[in-house]
């Protein structure tokens, strides 16, 4: 009888080791929720500024180059600030989580995850910058969402499987956004805000709600 238990234990060990060595499972759902909230705050400011710009445009009755340039810069800096804050809080909550699960933040699996997410993301970032360079604003939101989705799908092999579905959702949303030019900000808010909050909550609910099981 105890021999059977011993074998079952060995199988559980194997399974646990295979998972722990190939997937970074300490990714916190709270990271997603925090990133989503920053994105929504950013979208709110962007909406405000864009409305203000159009009000100015309408009352003036003509296009003002400097005004438009200023708006562009403000939006660009806003996007960078949102990205920075989102990354920082994602990092913080995941760091807290690794302390709870007593695993390393920077190890074999988190390295694999980072590299595999970074490749499509860096390509996408450069692509979007090139579009800005050519004053092509219409496809920035669709491209950001599609590249971000691809990055998540690519990285999902090395972390929680929910990330894969978040990636698919971002890709579909990005492609849909190509058909609704002019509503970019709404798509952006849904993709980077709402989806992050939903998936972050699902991940938190599934993995973190109960105290982590002690192995």
């Amino acid at each position: 009888m105890s021999e059977q238990n011993q074998h079952l234990e060995a199988l559980q060990d194997i399974r646990q080791m295979m998972q722990r060595s190939s997937r970074f499972i300490s990714l916190s759902g709270l990271s997603g929720i925090a990133a989503g909230i920053w994105a929504l705050v950013g979208a709110f400011f962007a909406y405000d500024w864009i409305t203000e710009y159009y009000n100015g445009y309408n009352s003036r009755g003509n296009f003002s180059g400097p005004e438009f340039g200023r708006l562009q810069w403000k939006l660009f800096l806003l996007a960078a600030a949102v990205l920075g804050l989102a990354l920082l809080s994602a990092f913080y909550f995941t760091w807290q989580r690794t302390k709870k699960t007593k695993s390393a933040l920077w190890n074999h699996t988190s390295r694999q995850l980072t590299i595999n997410v970074a490749i499509p993301l860096a390509a996408g970032g450069l692509y979007v910058l090139a579009m800005l360079q050519h004053n092509e604003w219409r496809f920035i939101v669709p491209a950001s969402l599609v590249f971000y989705g691809l990055a998540l799908v690519n990285g999902s092999k090395y972390t929680l499987s929910d990330i894969r579905y978040l990636g698919f959702s971002e890709i579909v949303l990005g492609l849909a956004a190509t058909q609704f030019i002019g509503y970019g900000l709404y798509f952006w808010a849904v993709g980077f805000g709402v989806l992050h909050i939903i998936y972050g909550f699902i991940m938190w609910w599934k993995n973190e709600r109960k105290p982590a099981l002690v192995k």
């Binding site: 021999e3 059977q4 060995a10 060990d13 194997i14 060595s21 190890n107």
Partner: protein, 101 residues
């Protein structure tokens, strides 16, 4: 002493938890460094080194000695023989559990 082991495939070498852990993680990764294995298995340098040596001598894993800057970076990967032995061992465990049921 085991009276008679009805099922072949179970490998004595994998009776040890650390050796089993090393093999499990190498099954799903192309290669892993010594330090990553150490962190994963939560063992001391000396302990891990001994077990790795046993596995290497059995021909179950390959060792690559490299450098990152001036620091040595030793990585390990599984051999064909290692993969086969591990799969046989898994099959053996499965049969044992089914057999006892």
């Amino acid at each position: 002493m085991a009276l008679n082991n009805p099922i072949s495939g179970l490998n004595k070498i994998f009776d040890n938890r650390i050796r089993l852990g090393v093999m499990s993680s190498l099954m799903v990764n192309d290669e892993i460094s010594f330090n990553d294995l150490k962190g994963l298995l939560e063992v001391t340098d000396g302990n891990l080194a001994t077990h790795l040596q046993t596995l290497e001598e059995s021909g179950f894993l390959k060792v690559h000695k490299g450098f990152i800057g001036r620091k040595t970076n030793t990585t390990y990967s599984i051999t064909r023989a290692g993969e086969k032995a591990f799969k046989d061992h898994l099959g053996g465990l499965e049969k044992m559990i089914q057999g006892i049921k």
